[in-house]
Subunit: 235 residues, 2 copies
């Protein structure tokens, strides 16, 4: 049977081979939630960049610039890191250059995988269904916070393990821990996360509405994947 | 209020400053459980070594050699990695040179901390009580398995967070996750861990008795600490 593993932080990626794996990158608050929302609203392409300046350079190619540093919109960028900004009809068909503190770095560290998929609670079931059609072992890469473990990405990893139960086996202890945490949290995700350091950090930015939105399951059915260095939706 | 943080793997130690911290090193299956048992049975000193050959070299200094690689006793060593081997009256007052796959490496990576303490379920309350007397912030270093996250060390970290609740604040999400997992597991720790990869790996070595023993809380009240590069008990 295929396996699912969970890398709890990009700083542990050296322990996880990505070649021949389907990698799901997750940054619930808020990069991959934004990306999912953007594709649900008809965006054509997202080009992920680890560095601000590379992102900014894409402006001359007709890309919108988007992203954050330390949870805040970057000065001079067109779009920030709130999913609500991407629910905008004017973005239909647009191309976006995207950079975030943690999310795009996790994508960059996953390069070399046979498939890189953008996961969030917003497209949880769609991602799980897509994974069921693939032959590869699965690795969920949690973007974390500046290299450290975070709860919300781990809960999403656990939700995927739970969704794929019976079809894909946990490869080691990290998926088991994630699954146990998700099953404990799922009836009240916002409450469970209310003490989390990342949620407290974001709460200072007054984005309670964003947090609740990003923790809602299956609002959308898009599956963004990386092909030729850009993200596009496959359904 | 002081803080408690949890480093889920030695491969993430670069993210956690140890200077001015009280560090608790934990390798439940089985290095720190063995060390706790050894001190409870009157051993004088344990010198931890990351490398086999350094351990072996201590034999000429009158040290017993002890430890494992990949969960198995090292050929030619006096003692292995089962806590029951350390319940031996002949070891009273003895000195031991100790190396393990994960545990002693975690100690070596913690050097520079103002206090390094050996923690296990066997001395959980004694370690918690000692920590209450210290002024420093606390970092629990999980030995993990070859750099990866493991459940049993994380559960111990969670048990410490729970024991110190109200006196020491979780520093970030890792202690919160560990605490949630411990509270979910504590009524049936052996059952909770039965699917764990590390426990399955060890079960192949037929050490169910060791596992049950190592998951038992407060069998002993010794607190081993590192002073001048060797472990001694402080009470």
């Amino acid at each position: 049977m295929r396996t699912i593993d969970v890398c709890l932080s990009p700083d542990m990626m050296h322990l996880y081979p990505v070649v021949d794996h389907a990698v799901v990158v997750v940054d619930i608050l808020r990069a991959t939630s934004c990306m999912t929302t953007a594709f649900a609203y008809g965006i054509d392409t997202i080009a992920p960049f680890a560095k601000l300046e590379h992102c900014l350079a894409m402006k001359v190619n007709g890309f919108y610039t988007a992203g954050e540093r330390d949870g805040k919109k970057v000065d001079g960028f067109d779009l920030g890191n709130s999913p609500f900004e991407y629910q905008d009809p004017k973005l239909k068909g647009a191309k976006i250059a995207f950079t975030t503190t943690n999310g795009t770095q996790a994508i960059v560290k996953s390069l070399g995988a046979s498939e890189i998929i953008i996961g969030s609670f917003l497209n949880l079931t769609a991602v799980a269904n897509h994974l069921k059609t693939l032959p590869q072992n699965i690795l969920v890469v949690c973007a974390g916070w500046k290299g450290k473990f975070n709860l919300e990405d781990t809960l999403f990893a656990g939700a995927l393990v739970e969704k794929l139960k019976g079809e894909v086996n946990p490869a080691c202890d990290a998926p088991l821990a994630a699954q146990a945490l998700y099953n404990q949290a799922k009836s009240n995700m916002v409450g469970f996360l209310s003490n989390s350091s990342h949620v407290k950090r974001l709460a200072k930015l007054n984005i309670h509405k964003d947090i609740t939105f990003c923790l809602t399951e299956d609002t959308y059915s898009v599956v963004p994947v990386l092909r030729d260095n850009v993200l596009r939706k496959i359904n």
